[in-house]
């Protein structure tokens, strides 16, 4: 009996360690914030990302790549960037806006969206490694808002380094900022899909 209990605890411990290890190495953290399910999201607009880094163009880079990856997933219908820019112009908003009820109403009425994605590029740069090597890294915060209620449905924070993708020797290391952003975007979107985004029945 004792032996059985011990083995069960050992198994549970291993599973916990594996799970924790995975989540730590992945560094992806998504919270389901609202009680409303992201399954009801069918059409979204992605607002230009706020840039908290010193790299002036990095937020646009991250935005275009995430936007492309969202199109590639085919999870939801996406409003073209030009329409989003017109919305910002109409409401005299800059990137990384804090949206109020009127904005959400405008988004729902004029762009026909159920949700809006806002993003913040938190960190971007090159980290030194041994042997004079350097790898790019990116930290991205993405939120999905329900335009009807204005509530946040999902909130994700993800950080990745190029050598997180190393297989053997130098193989697999991602050495471009675009490459790391692509991976980060894909991983967040896979996570969102797991949490119900893309299950729209309409």
């Amino acid at each position: 009996m004792i032996r059985m209990l011990t083995s069960k605890w050992l198994l549970a411990g291993c599973l916990l360690m594996l799970g924790t290890g995975c989540s730590l190495s992945n560094d992806l953290m998504t919270r389901l914030v609202s009680k409303k399910s992201p399954r009801e999201v069918c059409r979204v607009a992605v607002l230009p990302f706020e840039n908290q880094t010193r790299n002036l163009e990095a937020a646009t880079l991250a935005y275009r790549i995430f936007y492309g990856e969202l199109i590639a997933t085919d999870l939801v219908d996406i409003v073209p960037e030009g329409d989003v820019r017109l919305f910002l112009l109409r409401n005299r908003l800059r990137s990384g806006p804090v949206l109020n009820a009127n904005h959400f109403e405008d988004l729902a009425r004029n762009l026909g969206v159920d949700a809006v994605v806002t993003g913040t590029l938190v960190e971007v740069g090159m980290d030194s490694r041994s042997g004079g090597e350097s790898v790019p890294f990116v930290a991205l915060q993405l939120d999905l808002y329900d335009v009807q209620s204005g509530h946040r449905l999902l909130s994700s924070f993800h950080r990745r380094w190029g050598d997180d993708y190393r297989r053997t020797m130098h193989f697999g290391v991602v050495r471009t900022l675009s490459g790391v952003v692509t991976h980060v975007s894909k991983e967040i979107l896979e996570d969102w899909e797991d949490k119900g985004v893309g299950d729209c029945k309409r």
Binding site: L61, D77, L86, R175, T176
Partner: protein, 498 residues
Amino acid sequence: MIATGQKLIRTALLAVVLLCCGAPSLHAERVAVVPLADLSLGDNGVNQSVTRELSSRLELLGATLVPETEVVEFLSNNRLRGTGYLDTFTIKKMGHDLDCSLLLLGTVTEIGGTDPTFGIALQAYNTETGKAIWARTSATSLREQVKMLGLGQPEQVAELKPLVFDELLGSLRKRVSTKIMPLNRLYQLDRIEISPAFAKGGSEVEGVVKIRFIDTLPERIAVETSAGPAYLFRDAAADTYRGRWRAPLEEGAYQVSLRLEWKSQRAPERLLNVAGYEVISESPGLSIEIKKGVQTGEVIAFRDHILILPRLTRTKPMTRWMLEIKNEDGEVLVREEHEGNLPERMVWDGRGGSRSRLANGTYEIILHVWDLAGNHSVDARLVALQASALPVTVTTFNENGKNFLRVESVSEKGFPLTSWTLDATSRQGESLLRVEGSDLPVKIELPPMEGEPDLLYNFEGSDFLGNRLRLEKKEALRPANEPKSTSSAPAKAWVTDF
């Protein structure tokens, strides 16, 4: 039986579908490529050169593009400044105005840098619905493309572009209809190298082909020459195809074509005359002409310098040449080796490798030349260097009671003097004789003298090359066994002069 029939029908349908895919569409739909935004150039940066390169790649996949001028005119007419994005209305309007069904929008996310990188985020829009139908980002860097032993590794951004374009367009092609991108061009021939470019008849020729395929690789690739097909093997490390064949014996220029053999459903494709090489079997036919020297028998003599003029019977380009100058013992004193064509002329001033003047003597000038096919030709000439006149000796001797002078060259090697004058005087300054001549040796009878002849002479001479010899107030030698008499002997008569 019914099942077999259904299977046959299915196979037939599959064949029809594959044939349709393989054939270019008759009603190709146009694609508009909006100039790519370039983040490295700031918020409103546009990269037209990368846009054109992307457009060229699209055309290779059979896409019919809206001309760049029409796209730019549309953007201008609609006052569109930012090119990385468009709104739904503009996308539809563009489709309507430019008569295109697909719109490509993109951003160069990275280009250049300390670790040179290249990346593009590209999106495709259906102009009828205004909706995005495809998007992909592709980026890479030189360090990301490090390969085993560095074989076939890109070395500059330009070499990263095809990798990025192929990844993007290969993915796009799978998403859009064959009316937009017909499936008849699935490869991009990057380079084909034939070496040597000039081959000897019957020698081995190697072909290296770098060709990219969007999806499936052909079963076999052959190089087709007049000698028939030579199948290439894949060199995975260098990402190339290689093969060897024998050059024809007959001289001439030969074209090379590529043959791509696909699996059974697809007809082989030929890329005609993608490269060429030339067969040269005859030697260059070299001969040497020497100028500024004087031909004497088999040798050309000179005293200061000669011009070496190489003559070739064939006007093909040469790969290298070598000039050697040897002395009579066969020792190489000068060796000059150079790549490329022969100079029109060379000057030799009689100096050796250390730039010191060589001794008078006979030398052999040998000139070698190799053409681009490796054919060799050689010619040689004997030249005689005589930079100074041969020295002479003047001796007195007595024969049958008479005194004589003998004038002769010190050495028999070399060219003797061809004209000379000799003035002999007594020690008291009395002129004894003056003789001119053209041949040596010579015997000259001296006028009768009291006692043994004791005289001084002046000698001037020159050889046929113009080298001059001048000896002044020299004492004539006596034969070795005849000691010079002293002046203590009594005079037999009064001397006429003091």
